[in-house]
């Protein structure tokens, strides 16, 4: 069984590595110090099991699990935590595997024996209880994962079935409805058109062309984003409110 250990604390990783060394048929094939690095490690080694710490910088364990669950062949996930009342209560409710630190060897062995993939339903339920917008978006290109921080995203432009995510480092394509993105990131993104959400902090100006059509100029984004006529008033309102 190939296992990847994800924890931001070096001693915590050491301890899990030592415990796993004592359990037969287990190989640690990778380690990561945060969720974002964990996704990179997943690409490289595609482990059977990921041990995910909950509280981590950059990307926490819960968000990492959400990105993993969207994969075609997601690994089994076991969460680890020193203390997190809310998450633990939620895990108990939805029969999601977790271990309390310091982890006991027997419990670890038992959890590995029963480790299963997290399904989207479980995670969706978990999402409503520990609801926090994701801090990253993740796009799949075959076996490759592209991760972009939400605060780097300038706008979402829907195109038929997919959504184009334009960010400071380029663009990527994700398979999520614009409506759901709008709900999840309501504080940061504003609907300006049937097919467009715009990041408020990136808005530079609202312009009007000769034919009375409105568009937004975004910092770092060359193409102006069209604003639909009926949403102009709301966009003005939000801009005046200093977002």
């Amino acid at each position: 069984m190939n296992i990847v250990i994800v924890d931001d604390e070096a001693p915590a990783r050491t301890r899990l590595r030592e415990l796993l060394a004592d359990i037969p048929d287990c190989t640690v094939t990778g380690e990561a110090g945060n969720g974002r690095d964990a996704l990179t490690v997943w690409e490289r080694v595609q482990p059977d099991v990921m041990l995910l710490d909950i509280r981590m910088p950059v990307m926490d364990g819960l968000e990492t699990a959400r990105h993993l669950a969207a994969l075609d062949k997601p690994p089994a996930v076991i969460f680890t935590t020193a203390y997190d009342e809310f998450a633990v209560a939620a895990f108990d409710t939805h029969a999601i595997a977790y271990l309390l630190k310091p982890v006991r060897r027997e419990k670890l062995a038992e959890a590995l024996a029963h480790a299963g993939q997290l399904n989207r339903v479980q995670l969706a339920r978990l999402g409503t209880q520990t609801a926090q917008p994701r801090r990253h978006l993740c796009a799949r290109l075959g076996e490759r994962l592209q991760v972009v921080a939400v605060d780097q995203v300038q706008c979402f432009i829907a195109e038929q079935k997919y959504v184009n995510v334009y960010h400071s480092g380029g663009a990527l394509l994700i398979d999520e409805p614009l409506k759901e993105l709008e709900q999840e990131f309501a504080g940061r993104f504003l609907r300006v058109h049937r097919n467009a959400l715009v990041a408020l902090p990136y808005i530079e100006s609202l312009d009007k062309d000769g034919e009375g059509r409105f568009s937004l100029r975004l910092r770092g984004h060359s193409e102006p984003v069209e604003v639909s006529r009926r949403l102009v008033a709301e966009v003005r309102e939000r801009l005046r409110g200093g977002h």
């Binding site: 931001d8 604390e9 301890r15 945060n34 950059v58 310091p102 801090r135």
Partner: protein, 352 residues
């Protein structure tokens, strides 16, 4: 101050519908009757003292019970009135009850001849005298209820402050993470594990200690031990810049004032940064005021402060307020990328 209910603990007025309060009112009225009768009769006089006491008691109890009844009925209204006016409204009600009943008593007495001997010649004089007595007694009584309420509230506050202090000091997150670190160190670096256990013991001994105050020197030593434990766990991510040499180590301050603030800085700042960062601790003595600032960097998308943080802060603030009412304080500067807590407290030398 809206949405106050009938059982509002904020209201200093007791429930005049309840038996114990009515008993207090009756007792106060009867004591007043004694005072009035004794004041009028010298002990060696053979005047009909008991008869006098009976009629004055009757009259005073009549007023007292009616007042209690009026305040009982008015309670629904009184709890909706802002606190500072409620006392005044009560006072006016009490005076009104006295005026009306005095007027009634005078007329009944005048008409029927009962207790005629006690009545002064002047109608207005009788009512005015009663009003003055009522004004004094009511003021004393309201003041008594007010002070009793304040006292009860202070007792409750102190009790809850103590409980919160205990909860704020022993953070489960810190305890279990430290235990995990120690478990990890035991095999490979037993001497580090040993030191961590010693440091952790000192911290918990301090947090369970009864003594409310320590010297700044002791508090700083404890804070350094705390940082040692966290450094084992976070490694190079945690860097602490101590600039506290200008502080007098004999200054007195509440135990565990700095450590919870440092813990906040690490929990919300350093732990959430992939590359970690520097916690700045800076202190200076400005005249007879100690200034202490704890500054930490924040992750770019830091979530709004959770209640855990607030609890530790409120707790420290409360304890400073208890130690130096109005003379100590905490200020918070919450910038997008950094967070700073500033403490200000009077310099008092503690026991060495």
């Amino acid at each position: 101050m809206n949405g106050e209910r009938a059982s509002d603990p904020d209201s200093f007025l007791p429930d005049f519908c309840s038996a114990p309060v009515v008993l207090v009112v009756v007792l106060m009225a009867e004591l007043t009757a004694f005072v009035l009768v004794i004041a009028r009769h010298l002990p060696d006089e053979g005047a009909p003292l008991w008869l006098d006491l009976a009629s004055i008691s009757l009259f005073l109890q009549w007023i007292a019970l009616s007042s209690a009844a009026v305040l009982c009925l008015a309670r629904k209204f009184l709890v909706r009135v802002p606190q500072r006016y409620a006392g005044g409204v009560c006072y006016v009600l009490l005076l009104a009850v006295t005026a009306i009943l005095s007027e009634l008593a005078y007329r009944i007495s005048d008409y029927s001849g009962i207790g005629n001997a006690l009545l002064p010649a002047s109608h207005a004089g009788f009512v005015i005298r009663n009003l003055i007595v009522c004004a004094i007694i009511s003021a004393l009584m309201l003041r008594y209820f007010y002070i009793q309420h304040q006292w009860k509230r202070n007792v409750q506050r102190e009790a809850s402050a103590r409980i919160e202090a205990l909860q704020a000091r022993i953070r489960p997150h810190f305890l279990f993470n430290s235990m995990n670190t120690i478990a990890a160190l035991i095999r490979g670096k037993p001497e580090l594990a040993e030191r961590a256990v010693e440091d952790l013991s000192d911290l918990f001994r301090a947090s369970l200690s009864e003594g409310a105050h320590v010297t700044l020197g002791e508090e700083l030593a404890l804070a350094r031990q705390y940082v040692e434990i966290e450094t084992l766990r976070l490694g190079e991510r945690l860097r602490v810049n101590w600039r506290v040499d200008a502080l007098p180590t004999d200054a007195r301050l509440p135990r565990l004032t700095l450590q919870p603030l440092l813990e906040n800085a690490i929990y919300h700042g350093i732990e959430m940064l992939d590359q970690g960062g520097v916690v700045d601790i800076e202190g200076e003595l400005d005249g007879d005021t100690l200034q202490l600032a704890i500054r930490n960097p924040l992750p770019p998308q830091h979530a709004p402060q959770r209640h855990g943080n607030r609890m530790a802060l409120d707790n420290v603030r409360q304890r400073l307020e208890l130690a130096w009412p109005g003379r100590a304080g905490i200020e918070i500067a919450d910038a997008p990328q950094s967070y700073c807590v500033r403490l200000r407290l009077p310099y008092e030398r503690g026991a060495p």
